[in-house]
């Protein structure tokens, strides 16, 4: 892949098809865990000759660790069962197991593999899931994420978000790459490569398109790009600056910030760029719009009250109401998909941290202990927030669960990652 990059040194911007990969050397560090974790024993699957690395159970374990919902029991010292009938329940129960995962990988025709996986309730000694996947080697990690999703949903009642994807911008030297990767940061693919900054990527609700802001034309312009074929169009390129795209829940419209009439104001446009309708009025600064899950309300950041605060207003028009009250700088609103929580960045004594507001109760909780957090976005299942922060002078991505107890850091050595967005 590096070779492919070097072939086009003169191009300041190259649209690359989905088949272009990118090198991955992602490190994942997890700290903390939920108050009441489910004890789970993940027994290494019986391997097939020539299967990809790392082992499926390593990827699954990593996923479950990031969620903070599970405490993994060390399966060492036990004769590894591969089928439910081989499980010694009493022994696992004696180690405190609530659930057990076993499985096997078998060679299949055409270089494929069959993965058989079983999830068992160690207390009731019942089978919670039994699934078989016949996969190509390239579907290895995706299969592990699907199994982790099944485990998460069966044991917590809430779907996992391990098969979802994230978008982020990687800066290396003076090169910018907009990338889409698996939720654990692996399997990154380059969406856009540019010598100019790219910010604010946002997945369409169906995950098939990305809206983002590119400075390649010496000013900020909003693009929408298909992830399937790489085709793209300028959807907001009016006089002045164009930025901060947000998809409506039905994927038909975007809220954007334009400056064509006055200082930064929020407009609605069709997803193909037509019919701009101005939403906010007045000479103040309004930006960072996001839709509520029902599409009826826009949350946004404004300086209308003299400091940066988050407000909400009806999409149909009308008065804005202030949502954040504590502190002098609250920006970058993100809503959980159930509309219950608002995540945002709050400045307190010079530190910018991910903060969570339960909208109904007004309860506020600071989720991180870093100092330069930016760009929060919720996991599809609403249980965690993805954000950017700075560690050791370098931009890294992190996730934190909404209870604030489990944090994971996704980082690739030697590069600067920023502007993350969690997609479907």
């Amino acid at each position: 892949m590096l070779r492919a990059v070097l072939l086009f040194p003169a191009l300041c911007l190259a649209l690359l098809s989905a088949s272009f990969g990118a090198r991955a050397a992602m490190e994942i560090q997890v700290v903390g865990g939920a108050a009441n974790q489910i004890a789970i024993a993940i027994v290494p699957f019986q391997p097939a000759p020539g299967q990809p690395t790392p082992a499926l159970t390593d990827i699954i374990a990593n996923d479950l660790d990031r969620s903070g919902q599970f405490r993994r029991l060390d399966p060492a010292g036990v004769q590894p069962p591969t089928l439910p009938s081989q499980i010694d329940y009493a022994s696992w129960r004696g180690r405190g197991a609530d659930a057990i995962v076993v499985g096997q990988v078998l060679p299949a025709a055409g270089g494929r593999f069959e993965v058989r996986f079983y999830l068992l309730d160690a207390v009731r000694r019942t089978q919670l899931a039994a699934l078989s996947y016949t996969i190509a080697p390239g579907q290895w990690r995706a299969t592990a994420h699907q199994i982790a999703d099944v485990i998460h949903e069966k044991l917590t009642g809430i779907p996992g978000a391990f098969s979802s994807r994230i978008a982020y911008v990687q800066k290396q030297g003076s090169r910018y790459e907009l990338r889409v990767a698996d939720a654990d940061g692996y399997n990154p693919r380059i969406v856009v490569r540019s010598a100019e900054p790219v910010i604010s990527p946002r997945f369409s609700p169906d995950g098939k398109r990305l809206a983002y802001v590119s400075f390649e034309d010496r000013k900020p312009i909003v693009y929408v790009q298909s992830l399937a074929d790489g085709s793209r169009r300028k959807v907001a390129a009016f006089k002045g600056s164009n930025s901060a795209p947000a998809w409506s829940p039905d994927g038909q419209r975007l809220a954007v910030v334009l400056t064509r009439d006055e200082a930064s104001q929020i407009y609605l446009i069709d997803a193909d760029g037509g019919n701009p309708v101005r939403l906010t009025r007045g000479g103040n600064l309004d930006t960072e719009p996001v839709f509520s899950p029902d599409g009826q309300t826009i949350y946004f950041t404004s300086d209308r009250g003299g400091s940066a605060q988050i407000y909400r207003m009806p999409v149909a028009g009308g008065d804005a109401r202030r949502v954040t009250f504590t502190g002098g700088y609250n920006v970058s609103p993100a809503l959980s998909r159930d509309g219950r929580f608002l995540a945002y960045i709050s400045r307190d004594e010079g530190r910018f941290r991910v903060t969570l507001l339960e909208l109904e109760t007004g309860q506020v909780r600071v989720l991180t202990d870093t100092a330069r957090d930016e760009s929060p976005s919720f996991a599809p299942n609403g249980l965690a927030v993805l954000y950017a922060t700075v560690v050791g002078n370098r931009g890294v991505l992190g996730t934190v669960t909404v209870d604030g107890r489990t944090r994971a850091r996704l980082s690739e050595s030697g590069v600067d990652a920023r502007e993350p967005a969690w997609g479907p």
Binding site: P197, S200, F215, K219, T287, E288, A308
Partner: protein, 183 residues
């Protein structure tokens, strides 16, 4: 070479014409020369006698005042205080010079590029940078520059001039740059 010489010759000829009516031959011999559109910049040579035209030559290679360090047009950056968006009085003379240039050159265009320091949200900073660009645009507008000649945009914190984290570095980044469309 021809591009430089012909206008000069034409000026010589015209000035000769305006001061001496007793040598019509010289004028007639030049009637097929380029039109007067190339002459206004050297046209002040007029009243002197054709014989001393050597003084008109240096006027031909015009220095672009925007590139001349001695000209106020050479200055392009308006700096702002922390969390402030008003153009300080010290920048008025410089902005007057740019307004004068833009009014004298209706085809000239400027992009006003607002910038912020790196602290805080990128999108919010983009909007703050826009405020700084708009502030300069409004001042130039009051000075008589047409809106059609100006575009206020923002780079937010994306194009830091100084990547340091000191207050001096932040101050250097809080600014609006004036960039001409032909640059």
């Amino acid at each position: 070479m021809n591009k430089i010489l012909w206008p000069v010759l034409l000026v010589l000829t015209l000035s000769a014409c305006s001061t001496t009516s007793d040598k019509p031959v010289a004028v007639e011999s030049r009637t097929t020369q380029p039109t007067a559109s190339t002459t206004p910049s050297t046209g002040t040579a007029g009243t002197t006698n054709a014989g001393v035209s050597g003084s008109a030559l240096p006027a031909a290679p015009v220095v672009d005042p925007r590139k001349d360090p001695a000209s106020p047009l050479y200055k392009r950056s308006v700096f702002f205080d922390f969390d402030k968006f008003d153009v300080k009085d010290e920048y008025r003379p410089m902005l007057e010079a740019h307004a004068g240039y833009l009014k004298a050159n209706p085809n000239a265009r400027v992009i006003l590029q607002g910038n912020t320091d790196e602290r805080g949200s990128r999108e919010y900073n983009l909007a703050l940078g826009q405020k700084r660009a708009e502030a300069v645009r409004r001042v130039l507008g009051v000075m008589g520059v047409s809106d059609a000649q100006m575009e206020a945009i923002s780079f937010g914190e994306e194009k830091l001039r100084n990547t340091g984290t000191t207050e001096e570095a932040h101050a250097e980044n809080r600014r609006t740059d004036i960039v001409y469309g032909d640059e």
